[in-house]
């Protein structure tokens, strides 16, 4: 599971190409999926019409719907004069830390939010790619699934010379989501998430378990409840809300992730297709996290400033955002630190996020 760079087998895997190929394959499948969706909708409409006609006792009045005169059907090898081409008229709920505030995309067969987060530490970084797929099942209910892929990198993990860098990567905890929207215009939403412990919680390097924050999961079921209230103004949006999360408690290795609660507020302003947004959040933890029984030096109250800009059209929304947390309170405010690592109070690891949301078909 762990892989110092000099041991990683980079020659056999190039996920850049795999990601690109997956995106291309998805694009290639789009017409078939859109056709399937349209066929389903047509079937429903025709069935509704047929049911209504069957219930009708008297013979329906004749209908003259007009006739199309476009009868030409062209083969695959077109001549120059057969094309209509050329110029002229032819016929979230957010994932990760950075929250989607703007218009986003809705209304399709399902909604897909892909987000890439870069979290910067003094002594390393995490790359977290997440995919959230959700679907409205009624006007009020939405269900979905959230799959994170996590890559964690730490410089000079043991503070030795020569240095040994370390990475840990894989699928994190997969979450199942359910959202209930309520209010006169569905301006409130309550989202419950259950985290399935799919991320490894006992990765080791040469037999030595990594500390708990370097694991991909805690190995126990997690859960959260999030309440959002959206004020939809002519000039933009305001989102107020709160989150309570059970981060897994203590596992069999003595690792512990403390419960947390957050309050947040965001404001977004409409500038054409863009929605720049600013927000602030406060998160509190009931007690410090523990690694194999030892308390870790982590902040217990964190304030985070968030800035993002979202661009959207009918088909796609794109988000670019940054989150800068600041530790306000910790059990110890000065600790023995390795060079480059974070302090309990003061600025915490920042996050840069890029997201793409589509609601196809």
């Amino acid at each position: 599971m762990t892989s110092p760079p000099n041991q990683s087998s980079g020659e056999s895997a190039r996920y850049g190409a795999f990601v690109a190929a997956t995106l291309l394959a998805a694009a290639a499948l789009y017409p078939a999926a859109a056709e399937y969706r349209a066929a389903e909708q047509n079937r429903e409409r025709l069935q509704t019409l047929d049911d209504a006609l069957a219930r009708q006792k008297q013979r329906p009045a004749p209908l003259d719907p007009g006739t199309a005169l476009r009868v030409t059907r062209l083969g695959p090898l077109l001549s120059s004069w057969e094309t209509v081409g050329g110029c002229g008229a032819g016929s979230t709920g957010g994932t990760g830390v950075v929250k989607w505030i703007g218009r986003n995309t809705t209304g399709g067969l399902f909604q897909s939010i892909s987000q890439f987060n870069y979290i910067h530490f003094g002594n390393g970084y995490n790359l977290v790619a997440t995919e959230q797929v959700s679907r409205d099942i009624t006007e009020h209910w939405n269900v979905g699934v959230f799959v994170p892929y996590v890559y964690k990198w730490y410089d000079n993990y043991y503070n030795l010379s020569p240095p040994i860098d370390l990475s840990n990567s894989g699928i994190g905890d997969i979450n199942v989501l359910g959202t209930f929207r309520f209010g006169s215009i569905n301006e409130n939403s309550l989202t419950a998430a259950i985290g399935i412990p799919t991320g490894t919680s006992h990765a080791t390097y040469k037999g030595d378990p990594l500390t708990q924050e370097k694991q991909l999961g805690i190995g126990t079921v997690t859960g959260s409840l999030m309440l959002d209230h959206t004020m939809d103004e002519t000039w933009g949006l305001i989102v107020l809300g709160g989150l309570a999360a059970w981060r897994g408690g203590e596992n069999k290795y003595g690792n512990f992730r403390a419960p947390t609660a957050s309050l947040y507020g965001y404001g977004g302003y409409f500038v054409g297709p863009f929605v720049p947004a600013l927000g602030v959040s406060f998160s509190g933890f009931t007690k410090p996290d523990r690694d194999r029984g030892d308390e870790q030096d982590v902040p217990l109250l964190v304030m985070a400033g968030n800035a993002s800009v979202e661009w959207s059209n009918d088909l796609v929304a794109v988000l670019l955002g940054v989150s800068l947390p600041y530790g306000l309170l910790g059990k110890k405010d000065t600790i023995e630190q390795r060079p480059g690592s974070q302090t309990v109070t003061g600025f915490q690891p920042w996050t840069l996020a890029v997201g793409v949301s589509v609601s196809p078909f």
């Binding site: 025709l46 006609l53 009868v71 695959p76 120059s80 081409g85």
Partner: protein, 661 residues
């Protein structure tokens, strides 16, 4: 013996580039079917006449005097020069030569071990996208893309900075040829970012498992990044070498905004070449059915090339795919470069594969597969070119040639209302005496203006006040390709202000009644029908496809104008499916439901999935009040094509009818 072996080796290697050059040339051989080239030619002619560049629009009514960043001026002068020397035939041949030259340039850029894959892949792509290879500045862009790719790939292999020197100079040419000049610096920038990322992160495991690392040390990668960065910057600076200043530089962004998909963006939703390919496929599948398959094959190619795929190539492919998904006009760019990129990345793997199967059955199959694919593609390209009419005249049905002759014969001058895609042709033929209201230089027009123009076609009654304000001397409209103007044609035929002065069934010319003594054409007169059919036979010299298309156009016009008997006369004896389908509709329009049903049923017997016949039978049933039966036909029709416009409209009409009753 040695000479014989050398000759065999040479021929063994040489046939590939020869086949590529010949195939690319033949694939792009087609008469001019796009109206843009004519305003380009008119601009070239005007610049030669004035001995000056054009900074404002002299040609159209709706944009007269507006600033015009004519970034194509160099192309226009060159195109006009070719035309003056050799006519439309010369223009098409030069275009085909440029395509062949660009294809050979790409061939030179591709790693020689990947060329056996590249040649058939590019040939297939060119044949599929041949309708996108128009006589337009984009052809020069294709050649420049190939040259940039060649120099950048050579620089990657040979590491000589002098190879980058031509790129800023080529950027100067590009900037003065087409708005896509921004692709030049973007291409170099992709390589620069790739080198920079390799220098910065190349040692990190996260990078090495994501992308192929270019050879050499971190220091060498950094030096490459610097050299490529300088080339990018110089190419950007070169983009400023334009007589049109900031307006020219802003053009790429303005064009990008215009092809950004969205229902609210009229330029994306209504301009044929800007429509996203997957949307276009719903209404015109024949034009772009292959795009999804190309993407799927590209995905397979990337998976196979995963170990060798460089970040720069990934950036380029990503950018081209996004541009293609935004507007179908950009599909040509993707089809052009993607085969070269994938073949380059696959080259080492292909060489290893060749070694591993040498002397085996698989090896024999591979040796046969490449020439077989190339030969079949060449044959298809040849058939496509042979099916085209001559190159000396524009493609039939696309341009109002006869109408322009008649307007040119009028005294004085004035304004002409026409379809936007025919505006350029009218400029070329009639400027300066007559000027069209609009043409396809849509960058000179606002979205509101273009929407207003489209409303005249979609809501013809709005045209009355508008035409009185402008006092158009003539109105020129097409019957087909596209058929959006049929409503306006019907409206003008009934108008007291205009007279039908000319039609051949495919183009329609209305002249203002006042000041024009003739009574106009009477399409209800059988003699007129016979004369038009005879003229079409003579014009197309026995080419059954073209004569058939001309007759279907004429019959369509007759139906639109209410001349049903003449429509039946035109279609009598025609057995082509399109003609039979139209005959059935003529009967329906005449109220002969039984006759229409008989023809529709016969068509269904031939092809149970004939959507036209299913829609027709649904309409017959609806008019008889048999709505459940109509729904049954619609169910079958929409199962075959869920996006069929006629079936969707029928369904909506039935739903509304049911709701009202």
């Amino acid at each position: 013996m040695t000479t014989w072996r050398t000759a065999m080796t040479w021929s063994g290697r040489a046939w590939l580039p020869v086949a590529l050059v010949v195939g690319a040339f033949v694939a792009s051989l087609a008469p001019i079917a796009d109206g843009d080239v004519f305003w380009h030619l008119a601009a070239g002619r005007e610049m030669v006449t004035r001995h000056a560049l054009l900074h404002t629009d002299p040609f159209s009514v709706s944009a007269a005097g507006r600033p015009w960043p004519d970034v194509h001026w160099l192309f226009q002068l060159a195109a006009y020069g070719v035309y003056a020397a050799s006519g439309l035939t010369g223009l098409v041949l030069v275009k085909s030569l440029l395509v062949a030259t660009g294809a050979f340039t790409l061939y030179a850029a591709v790693d020689r071990r990947g060329r056996a894959l590249f040649v058939p892949a590019l040939l297939v792509a060119l044949v599929l996208g041949r309708h996108l290879l128009l006589v337009r500045p984009v052809i020069v862009t294709l050649v420049l893309l190939a040259l940039f790719f060649l120099q950048l790939e050579r620089y990657g292999r040979e590491r000589r900075a002098t190879l980058l020197v031509p790129l800023p100079l080529l950027s100067i040419v590009w900037t003065n040829v087409q708005g896509l000049f921004a692709l030049g610096p973007a291409l170099i920038g992709a390589y620069a970012v790739g080198a920079l990322a390799t220098a910065a992160f190349g040692d990190r495991a996260a990078f090495r498992v994501a992308f192929a690392r270019e050879g050499g040390s971190r220091e060498k990668a950094l030096r490459r990044a610097k050299e490529l960065g300088v080339a990018t910057a110089l190419s950007l600076v070169a983009s400023f070498v334009t007589p049109f200043g900031g307006a020219a530089l802003a053009l790429p962004m303005r064009l990008l905004a215009r092809i950004t998909p969205g229902h609210a963006n009229v330029f994306s939703a209504s301009v044929a070449e800007n429509v996203p390919p997957f949307v276009l496929e719903r209404s015109s599948p024949a034009e772009i059915w292959h795009f999804k398959w190309f993407l799927a094959l590209l995905a397979v190619g990337l998976l196979l090339a995963a170990r060798r795929l460089r970040l720069a190539h990934l950036f380029m492919l990503g950018g081209l795919v996004v541009l293609s998904l935004m507007g179908n006009r950009n599909v040509a760019l993707l089809y052009w470069l993607a085969p070269a990129i994938v073949a380059t990345a696959l080259a080492p793997g292909l060489a290893a594969f060749r070694r591993s199967v040498r002397g085996t059955r698989k090896g024999l199959a591979a040796r046969v597969l490449v020439p077989a694919t190339v030969l079949v593609t060449l044959a298809v390209a040849g058939v496509a070119a042979a099916r085209e009419p001559g190159l000396a005249a524009p493609a039939p049905f696309r341009f109002p040639e006869a109408s322009a002759d008649r307007i040119a014969a009028l005294r004085g001058g004035g304004e002409v209302f026409s379809a936007d895609h025919q505006g350029g042709y009218l400029i070329w033929r009639l400027y300066p005496r007559f000027r069209p209201y609009i043409d396809t230089r849509l960058i000179l027009r606002t979205a509101a203006e273009y929407e207003e123009y489209l409303r005249f076609a979609d809501e013809p009654s709005r045209f009355d006040d508008f035409q009185r304000r402008h006092a158009f001397a003539a109105v020129v409209l097409p019957v087909a390709y596209p058929d959006r103007y049929l409503g306006l044609i019907r409206h003008l035929y009934a108008s007291r202000d205009f007279e039908l002065a000319y039609t051949d069934g495919s183009e329609v010319l209305f002249l203002r009644r006042e000041g024009w003594g003739d009574d106009g054409m009477n399409l209800g007169d059988p003699a007129t029908t016979r004369r038009l059919m005879t003229e079409a036979d003579a014009r197309f010299h026995g080419d059954a496809r073209l004569i058939g298309a001309a007759r279907v156009n004429l019959a369509t016009l007759d139906v639109v104008l209410g001349e049903m008997d003449e429509a039946s006369r035109v279609l009598a004896g025609m057995t082509a499916p399109d003609a039979v389908a139209l005959s059935a509709r003529v009967r329906l329009a005449k109220g002969d439901l039984d006759g229409a049903e008989k023809l529709g049923t016969r068509a269904l017997d031939d092809d149970a999935r004939d959507v036209r016949a299913l829609n027709l039978l649904a309409t017959v049933s609806a008019r008889r009040g048999e709505l459940r039966r109509a729904g049954g036909f619609l169910r079958k029709s929409l199962a075959v094509d869920p996006f069929d416009v006629e079936a969707s409209n029928l369904l909506a009409a039935m739903e509304e009818h049911q709701h009202e009753h």
